[in-house]
């Protein structure tokens, strides 16, 4: 029966097992989530007295919003989705023993850790990074910041992402179990697939952008200076990846929402094919929107119109997904367990964020709100809060599978409601401030907005309290939760057909797939207990 499972500390440090690597990714990215949240708490507290220096210096404020942004996007959202979820779920959902290149998988993780270390250096050492997570020249070249730390963190993350992308795209193409056709893949798999395509094409361009930044700073080259070069080039190259990076986060999230909604509504996902097509359209169209970050930077007029249309168009496949989720819920047998609450909360927050994004994409409106608190509010709704929340819900959903234990439902719901209430209100005042033209990233704000900012800070504390309760719930339940059955949600998806936690080799024998993961309500899937038997389970003789 193969080799015995290795144990002890070596089994983690030298592991090439996708499930262990996934857990390593989860723990590391959660640490950076907490780092980002702590920085947020300090900044929100500083802003309680917005019109003068308070608690931290203005210079430190710049460092904090830089590391807050980088930690949340680059070290939390992307790694938790493409490190943790992709690693844990892809082999289980396509019916494989592991990924195509297990060693490369471990390499991806350790390079991510290297990037994390460099980011921490950028927070604590002299020459702290105060260049914003975007690192725009000329300030990043001429300013006091140690831009090399930023560049190398991006390089190591990029190497990690590209090797991950090659690994997982190859895995999904070549290691699907017999009968696991493209039309039977979980939408989570499709989302992660699209996401890795964006990583594959986008990350090298970002790597090039920051390499040229390094050359400008230390070799005296002229890429981004005004002596023949052009600082706008950096913005183009940067956003060519950094805007699609939003879809790197969003696509897997869309997939996870679909899986959770279908399971807890006990209904087939509405419009599977349209979901897949929408995801692939977003993957491609995601590369045709980046100039909306440069509307006021001095780009050519025609390009602003072209990219405005790209930006608005991407609302169409996104809207299709929201309507499909609602149609899936319609007349479903809805079970409001914690993961489902998070999925529904996500749909609400994401819709607010998404609609404000359409407004933001219009050139005329954006010229007014560009680089104001409107933008801060928009991306905290659409990306930061809604997607972080859904990620936490996704962790709850697969928690019994991973740990073999049930999470604490009461604590889970408490954390959810706190976060939802906080998240719904925390950034709303910023929309109003943005419309009034208050620029973002300023350490000192006008005194007349004190009331609004304090409301915002108060509700952000509530949301963060919810996050901490949720993380505490994971730790507590992983240690002392009640034992979980193999399939507590009666899902029809392949990962629930094996024991919880999954055995070392995932599947004793590669399964043969005869149906798709969403066939709820079919005769053989009828009845609660037998639900798991019919659909996605393997039949082999």
């Amino acid at each position: 029966m193969g080799k015995p499972e290795p144990t002890g500390i070596k089994a983690w440090i030298f592991t090439t097992d996708h499930k262990k690597i996934a857990v390593l990714y989860l723990v590391t990215s959660l640490v950076f989530f907490v780092v980002g949240l702590l920085l947020a708490i300090i900044m929100r507290t500083k802003l309680l007295v917005p019109d003068r220096e308070f608690l931290i210096s203005n210079e430190l404020y710049n460092v904090f919003f830089t590391i807050h942004g980088a930690a949340m996007v680059l070290f939390w959202m992307i790694p938790v989705l493409l490190g943790f979820f992709a690693n844990y779920l892809i082999p289980l959902m396509i019916g494989a023993h592991d990924v195509a290149f297990p060693r490369v998988n471990a390499l991806s993780y350790w390079m991510y850790v290297g990037a994390c270390l460099i980011a921490v250096l950028g927070l604590v050492l002299p020459g702290r990074l105060d260049i914003g997570w975007t690192g725009y020249p000329p300030y990043s070249v001429t300013g006091p910041a140690n831009t090399a730390l930023y560049v190398f963190a991006v390089h190591l993350l990029g190497a990690s992402s590209i090797s991950g992308a090659v690994n997982f795209i190859t895995t999904i193409i070549t290691l699907r179990a017999p009968g696991m056709t493209w039309g039977r893949l979980n939408l989570t798999v499709w989302g992660i697939f699209g996401s890795f395509i964006i990583q594959l094409i986008g990350v090298p361009v970002l790597a090039a952008a920051v390499t040229l930044l390094l050359f400008d700073k230390y070799l005296g080259t002229h890429f981004y200076d005004t002596n023949g070069g052009n600082p706008l080039l950096y913005q183009h190259l940067f956003w060519f990846y950094a805007h699609p990076a939003v879809y790197v986060v969003a696509l897997p999230v869309f997939g996870i929402v679909s899986d959770i909604v279908s399971t807890f509504a006990r209904k087939r996902i509405f419009g599977y094919t349209s979901m897949v097509i929408a995801m692939m359209i977003i993957t491609v169209l995601g590369f045709e929107v980046w100039v909306h970050h440069l509307y006021v930077a001095g780009t050519l007029n025609w390009s602003r119109i072209v990219f405005m249309w790209g930006t608005i168009l991407i609302g169409v496949p996104t809207g299709i997904k929201v309507f499909n989720w609602l149609a899936t819920l319609h007349k479903g047998s809805i079970d409001l367990k914690t993961p489902m609450l998070y999925a529904l909360g996500f749909i609400a927050l994401f819709t607010i964020g998404g609609i404000t994004g359409i407004a933001n994409g219009l050139v005329g409106f954006d010229i007014h709100v560009h680089d104001t608190h409107w933008v801060v509010a928009h991306f905290h709704y659409v990306l930061a809060l809604s997607m972080s929340m859904l990620v936490l819900g996704g962790i709850y959903y697969w928690f019994p599978k991973m740990t073999g234990k049930m999470y604490d439902e009461k604590l889970g719901q408490l954390g959810f409601w706190l976060t939802l209430v906080g998240a719904l209100i925390a950034f709303f005042p910023h929309f109003m401030m943005g419309v009034d033209g208050i620029p973002r990233r300023y350490a000192i704000l006008p005194a007349e907005y004190t009331g609004m900012i304090r409301i915002s800070s108060l509700f952000s504390y509530i949301a963060i309290a919810g996050f901490f309760i949720t993380i505490w719930n994971y730790i507590k339940s992983a240690r002392s939760g009640a034992p979980a059955p193999a399939n507590p949600w009666n899902s029809l998806s392949l990962e629930w057909t094996i024991p919880s936690p999954p055995p070392f080799y995932n599947f004793e024998k590669i399964p043969v797939i005869t149906s798709d993961p969403y066939e709820y309500g079919k005769p053989e899937g009828h009845g609660e207990e037998k639900g798991a038997v019919g659909g996605h389970a393997a039949h082999h003789h």
Partner: protein, 271 residues
Amino acid sequence: MDSAMEHGVSAAHGDHGHHHEVELSIWPLIVSVGGFLIPLSFIMAFPWGMSSIGMLLSGVAVVVLIGGLFGWTNEIYANKKDVGLSKVAIVIFILSEAALFGGLFGGYLYSMLPADNWPPLNTPEGVPPLGLAIILSVFLITSSFTIHIGEEKLEHGDAGGYKTWLIVTIILGALFALLMAYEWFELIHEKGFYISLNTYSTFFFTITGFHASHVIVGLVMQIFCVLMTKSFTKEKHTLAKTTGLYWHFVDGIWLLVVSLIYIIPYFKVGQ
């Protein structure tokens, strides 16, 4: 315990552990330590101004990195597996590399197209050295044919013929790299054309440098293939195939380098 188990996966036997030969490997960690030390040595040498410690650390980093890669490949070949997945992977990886060069060429065009003079007026006479570029192109394009002939030999089971043609390819590739180094030396020391001179020189050295680094990676892969020729058979030679694909890609990129970086500035096209 669970009905799904009885019904499905647990009932079957055999096929155990396939694709899961490696559960523990020390090498990914070693390689990433090397990968982490290289930027750290740069940070020490440049921003922190500790150049001797930085130099020392970069030496350590390179040793760790190469040692790690060596151990890694050794481990793979100790298992004697040719799972045949890497051809898909190398195509995907090449797409990523193409995006990298796409970003660089995009940046180049973005700087060149609005410029009144290209190359800028302070560019010395005789730059770009088009004659040298033609010789370089001859080497590289020929090498793409020779490696292809080698692969055809291998497909007909002639490992010896493969080895011969591969060595010819390596010689051509090495000549390319050496001539490139000579060209850089000439430009910098004889013609006074260096990386921080103007926007054109900035892009010239960056893009030719990026390309040359890919040539060197390709050469390392080819040397490795020469050493591994014994293990190749008519059916099992994925490494040879992937090396060939990568080399053709490097060759194709060179054609873009020649047209955009050498020919257009030489003839001042469009001005």
